[in-house]
Assembly symmetry: C2
Homo-oligomer: 481 residues x 2
């Protein structure tokens, strides 16, 4: 117990320093350096036990050589920040060390999940919050659930007979959508070639006419269109597909409409921004990750389904050793037979506790504030020398995508050479950032576009000064490129 309190001391120091801007975001080392062993820190496992003193050193070193994802200058991932209430919730969850599969061993958590999912469905706009849902290990699995449930709704016989029993089914999603839809099509046995990619406008939003044309084309080829994914907040551009227009087409052709709001779902909490998801109440299923825009610790992802009973029908195997029908309580509260997992981690408590603590209006404020910071960045750089925006106009989400063009490249004529050189700029700046440990921000190419920075804000600790710092730091690091 004394040991546990010493670990708490290490952890609270870590948390304090994380919010201190004079602390580095990371202390970068290459894999071979860490593998060879830093002074006093050896990753190898042994037959014999180590002393508790050494274990405390190991805890300190693990944090020392890691990355402070809660630091106000860590912008590298959609999930960032370190909410203290959420953290306390996670600590309690680990201490309770239980499993979501039955009410029997997780009565409080199972009910919290049930109530929270209902609240989320109300916010989506489904009548009386009716429907179903489950927390899953991340947005990719939530998206996979949506494809599975759609398949079960249209072809329940697949569960028993497999994909051989059905016609050639095709799925639709945009070029800008998350790769998990493609993963699901491989995993579930559709095949990635049966996932048809939709064209987007310059801002990364699906062109509905392209969806309809491709649905018609697929039908003419004898394929059976079944599922459409609309993205609410794409990973790179933060684009929101026009859900209402897509829903019209889905209704016309009897297609399952899934909205991947893993990143953008949080905007539903904001009266100012939720119009970007107009039409989401027409979706058959929705992915929404509170661990992204809502600042909940990792991980916390929900799949919500409008029709009740489908999750259970799709996944139920009625294992007698776990889901005994003759228990003394109402076993409809057991959640395990809805899941593709057996044991399931308690992801709900931290989220429930944060919601209690902030209230719905607290999440709204957080989201509005992050979007304001992104607007600030956008206005700061859109006409600044050396910057070029990847797409024009105000971002829809906190994603601000831009190239930084170092002085040496500014006078080059547009063309392949400039493209090639520009492609190398973001990786170089990023590498220097990591070596210096001052900040982190993501970059990637997209289609024909060479590597650019994708800035996102989801951490409540970020201020305008951190945005200013990022820009100064990019310019400082890139001066000799």
């Amino acid at each position: 117990m004394q040991f546990l309190l010493e670990v708490v001391e290490i952890l609270t120091n870590y948390v304090r320093k994380t919010f201190d801007r004079s602390t580095k975001v990371l202390d970068f080392h290459h894999p071979h350096q860490l593998l060879e062993g830093m002074e006093g820190f050896n990753l190898e496992l042994c037959d014999q036990p180590e002393s508790l003193e050494q274990i405390l050193v190991d805890c300190r070193d693990t944090l020392k050589y890691g990355v402070r994802t809660g630091h106000p200058r860590f912008f590298n991932q959609l999930s960032s920040g370190l909410d203290i209430i959420g953290l306390a919730g996670e600590w309690l969850t680990s201490t309770a060390n239980t499993n979501m599969f039955t009410y029997e061993i997780a009565p409080v958590f199972v009910l919290m999940e049930k109530l929270t999912l209902k609240k989320m469905r109300e916010i989506i706009g489904w009548p009386n919050g009716e429907g179903d849902g489950i927390f899953s290990p991340g947005g990719a699995i939530s998206n996979m659930y949506s494809v599975m449930v759609a398949r079960y709704k249209h072809y329940p016989e697949v569960k028993i007979k497999g994909m051989a029993a059905v016609p050639r089914l095709v799925l639709f999603t945009s070029e800008h959508s998350h790769y998990s839809i493609k993963k699901a099509s491989a995993v579930l046995g559709f095949g990635t070639e049966n996932l048809i990619l939709l064209r987007t406008d310059e801002r990364g939003r699906v062109i509905p006419a392209d969806l309809e044309a491709k649905v018609i084309d697929a039908k003419q080829k004898g394929f059976v269109p079944m599922f459409v994914n609309a993205t609410a907040g794409s990973t790179v551009y933060g684009a929101f597909d026009p859900i209402n227009e897509i829903a019209d087409i889905c209704e016309k052709y009897n297609l399952w409409l899934h909205v991947d709001g893993a990143w953008g779902g949080g905007l539903l909490m904001s009266r100012k921004h939720r119009h970007k998801l107009d039409g989401i109440e027409r979706a058959n299923s929705v992915t929404w990750n509170p661990h992204k825009m809502m600042g909940v610790p990792l991980q916390c992802s929900a799949i919500l389904v409008r029709e009740k009973g489908l999750l259970q029908g799709c996944n139920s195997m009625c294992a007698g050793y776990l889901f005994q029908p003759d228990k003394q309580y109402d076993v409809t509260y057991d959640t395990g037979d809805k899941a593709i997992q057996c044991g399931r981690h308690v992801d709900i408590f931290k989220f429930w506790l944060m919601w209690k603590s902030k209230g719905t209006i607290g999440f709204e404020r957080h989201i509005d504030r992050c979007l304001e910071l992104s607007e600030y960045l956008y206005h700061k750089i859109k006409n600044r020398e050396g910057y070029e925006m990847v797409f024009q106009g105000e971002p829809q989400h906190t994603n601000v995508c831009f190239w930084y063009i170092p002085p040496s490249l500014r006078l080059l004529p547009d063309g392949e050479e400039k493209r090639q050189r520009l492609h190398k700029v973001a990786p170089k700046i990023k590498a220097m950032m990591m070596e210096c440990g001052t900040t982190m921000v993501g970059y990637q190419p997209q289609g024909e576009k060479v590597n650019f920075f994708r800035m996102v804000v989801s951490n409540a600790a970020v201020t305008r000064s951190d945005i200013d710092f990022l820009i100064d730091e990019i310019e400082r690091l890139a001066q000799d490129l």
Copy 2:
């Protein structure tokens, strides 16, 4: 920060009480009771924030109305116990709040995972610990990985073309195996009817001759046998399938051999018991959950694959925004493209820390001790009045399966009436246990066998006195049945 320390106070009190046998295992309430709201504890979420004082009350109440899975008299699940080092590891993990997909944001954890998986493969017996693996969100997902990887190895075209491109593939597993194999066959598009169940002996172990007969039969019907699951430690009986004999058949017919050691894998750490898994080094893949027999906090499950590159080949989608090839470090350390998830929780640290702290020999001692306690229980009840063993002979794992026959049933002649009445005994005793809150143990029917208790031990805090208590308590509760 003060708030966090107050939560720590609540948690450390909870931990202390959990190990105190005068504390109840649970304070049972029905769902409607908790939903209506206990005094001062309301699960509903509101628009407005709650005070920090109320949040602390909510934390206390969440624990109060939950189940103490670390209590030495909680025998309800394969995962039990509350290891303090493991708990500290989970608290650190939550504080680091990062994601396993890239080395970039989880350098230390990614390397710990890599080294620990290698160590596990060495223990399995694969040459030099070569191969691959990943920690996944539970044994069901690990088993699903095995089927996916087997399919990719035999028919890589499925990834692109889907299940329509392959012949009718069949899978084999025993009647006693975990239901996740059936789930995987539904999810992945094989269909549950293409999962062929194998007969077992009286102890729940696969009969190899039945496997060979069913493989031949399937081939004669024109189906293509592809995958065999052998269970090392079945959920109910704790049975170990004869891996070597199954491996002979798999080699003969070119079938993928998976060993589901979710529950029994831990025995590999024991020089005394690892012979029960003889032949595991011939498997193509292995599921092994340290969160079960090794007492690691939930969750911690590994899928290990003998052939390198298959996980990556099977699941890789090369998302440009996450797995940039032009990073400054060796990107082969990024693990995300091996996974079906995108974000992945850090499950490794608590396990690594426990291994450091106990050493391999510490795990061995823990496992040997749990098995000794089960032997103690077995010998205590096998000839005791009122007990009947579900299968004869010493259990292979810690699972002891038995009926308790209350005095009123003992004189009844064998037959349907006795069966029907006996079927109701375990649920009644279990309900009373939960109402009293004194202990918890699982029950279930199996095939033709009516409800019986399945006792398991995986908690390091259990002593012989707790086993004695369980037996006394069953007899006390059942006296008037």
